[in-house]
Amino acid sequence: MIKTFPKGGIHPPEDKFSAGSPIQELPLPKSVIIPVCQHLGSPSEPLVKKGDRVKTGQIIAKSSGFVSTNIHSSVTGKVEKVDKFTDSTGYRRLAVSINVEKDQWEDNIDTSNTLKKQINSKAEEIIKKILDAGIVGMGGATFPSHIKLSVPKGKKVEVLIINGVECEPCLTSDHRLMLEKGEEMMVGVRLMMTALGVNRAVIGIENNKPDAISNLKTIAKDYKTIEVQVLKVKYPQGAEKQLIKSITRREVPSGKLPIEVGAVVHNVETAYAVYEAVQKNKPLIERVVTVTGKNIAKPSNFMVRTGTPVAYLIEAAGGLPEDTGKIINGGPMMGKALNSLDVPVTKGTSGILVVPQSESLRRPALNCIRCAKCVSICPMGLEPYLLRAASEHKKWDIVEEERSMDCMECGSCSYVCPSAIPLLDYIRLGKSTVSKIIRSRKQ
């Protein structure tokens, strides 16, 4: 049976131009810039300095707290400097730049392609290896994975949900991975199940990827505890709470984590990274990145080392089109516009989208005509028109009462608005002000 979540949602054009392009290994660039903060949480502490020689897979920054993780060098070469560089957020933040010399991996890393299905590690060992390898949620949230795999005391996990939805238009990195690295990914899923001590996993995939579905279904036949759930195409189904609702019918309470309803969600590419880390000792230093856009000559999926500049990826996909107006890190619904092409690929970069000039600018906003489209499509059951009005008039108490903090910023409201009102911009403003107010109240 095909499932989906009941409340709200939209269906933007899918534009999966690169769906048919197999994952290609991208040649190494001349130099890489590896930010020490590629995850949600505190920045890692650099362990190298200018002039140091590093090997591929060598740790160069270590976890600096509970919500933090390790960072590894993705290349072999000489550290040029440890300094502030502009990253994909647009801010200048600490990073390690390395001049690439060759590609000599750390000795204990298995770089072969042999599939290792046999699982020999216990739960604690798996979690330790995941932290050591610096694995974070690769769907875009970049939350350190070892934390999500450690079950808090008093909680019980009933199901591990693997997110293969890829509901963002344009992106195809998860799709290609499920198609080409399905066996490895499935071992990763089993490793995660061992870590969580759970005996049921469901892989959710939208039915616009029939090849990936049949590939994983074939592989899953060998495992009674892993099932593939086909989902109807609907944005934002890849959002954690919506995916849990689609698959289990359970609603994560407002302000709570998925564990409240016995679920843990991980992205397919995270599962693959877990396989690489535990079975092959390979830290997270490369990932699949979709490079696409309406006017991109060769929409592609590349296996890219972290730290590779975005410009290098675009060159490999046929170069920057003449009429480029906007370059987005991620998909068109939730991705962030980049202000430079020199920023590096990080652990959370799932795609680079090049938007033509003609589609880069917003339409001028008109009066709200109260058509209620934003209310009917909000997957969280909010009233975006009201949050916008309250935010605009600085009525922060109303912004808070109307549950703005439940907004996950999927952008569906701005997408549907016939008056082209930037609803989400106003809601973001409201959310950031309200969270400041909440924090000051706690002090």
Partner: protein, 333 residues
């Protein structure tokens, strides 16, 4: 890189629905009913529609440009919709100067005094219609006979509407069954070969346009269906209790402005509630008030008043009727 790129917050894709497309969608949906009116009322329908639309557009343009000192936005189609709906709510023999007054009240008082599109609490076309109805009761209740008056404008042959015959007859102690003999049959009511306001006569043409709006997702079904169901339920109860003094539910459904009101007037975005629950409350309120006015009130028809009364409740409904939030009231299992 030597050229400038845009940096803006997400989302970067936008849907292709615009206010303009929605408004012209409504206009398109009204065309079948318009053609039926032209067929039955001929020249009068054309004149009333032309005057109503042109004066609505003119007043919107003049008020925006010279009173509000703003960029006129008549191309958004909302004044066109108001003009067309106002015409639909008028008899086709109405003198031209009364139509212009109606347009001035609809656009000037009903819409622009509140700040223009999106800010008006009451449906502008209905504000215009009800103003004319109260100010010019004689002209507003003189109804041309279909087909017979196709080549006449203000000199048309006139007579009462089916609802008028019913109201008048029932007050003269006649039974509903007797009165139905004097009223055109259900097929005439359905097709529109009856006396009435220009655009309200043909249920089938209005329903066809309504289905078009549903398919194009211009409106949702909740408001029309809740109005129609509540009218059927209320009149059904009355009819079952006393079939001699009450017309049957089907008659109520097909006569007067119910279809026009339920499908096109009550669904006006600006003046209807934001949530599904709110739409049900709104629709049921309109249905109940309509029947109350028709059956117990002094006027034979009450759809316009019912919609305007419920328009007044919309801010209250929006304040207290909220959508159920995700994860708000958790049911697991």
């Amino acid at each position: 890189m030597d050229k400038l790129i845009t940096v803006s917050p997400s989302p970067h894709y936008y849907g292709d629905t615009t206010v303009k497309k929605l408004m012209y969608g409504v206009v398109f949906a009204l065309l079948p009913a318009f053609f039926v009116s032209v067929y039955f009322f001929g020249i009068g329908a054309l004149i009333v529609t032309a005057i109503s639309i042109l004066s609505c557009l003119a007043f919107e343009y003049l008020i925006q440009k010279y009173l509000m000192k703003a960029e006129p936005s008549i191309s958004d189609g909302s004044a066109l919709v108001t003009g067309l709906l106002l015409a639909f709510n008028l008899p086709t023999n109405l003198p031209w100067w009364i139509i212009i007054i109606g347009a001035l009240v609809a656009i000037g008082v009903g819409k622009m005094t509140f700040g223009g599109l999106g800010n008006n609490p009451f449906n502008p076309a209905l504000v215009g219609r009800v103003f004319l109805f109260i100010s010019f009761p004689v002209q507003m209740t003189s109804w041309p006979t279909p087909i017979a008056s196709r080549l006449q404008y203000t000199d048309a042959v006139t007579g009462p509407t089916p609802l008028g015959i019913m109201e008048e007859g029932l007050s003269q102690q006649e039974t509903a069954a007797q009165l139905m003999e004097q009223i055109p049959g259900y097929m005439e009511l359905f097709l529109g070969s009856i006396r009435g306001s220009m655009g309200e006569i043909s249920a089938i043409a209005l329903i066809v346009g309504g289905i078009y709006m549903l398919i194009r997702k211009i409106i949702t079904w909740h408001i029309p269906v809740s109005i129609i169901l509540s009218v059927l339920a209320f009149t059904g109860i009355l009819w079952l209790m006393n079939p001699y003094d009450n017309a049957d539910p089907l008659f109520h459904l097909l006569s007067g402005g119910l279809m026009l009101g339920a499908i096109y007037m009550a669904t006006d975005y600006v003046t209807s509630p934001m949530t599904i629950k709110g739409m049900w409350i709104f629709g049921i309120g309109i249905g109940v008030i309509t029947v109350a006015i028709r059956v117990f009130g002094a006027y034979p028809e009450g759809v316009s008043f019912a919609i305007l009364i419920m328009n007044a409740f919309v801010p209250l409904i929006n304040k207290y009727v909220k959508p159920k939030g995700f994860g708000e009231e958790v049911r697991n299992g």
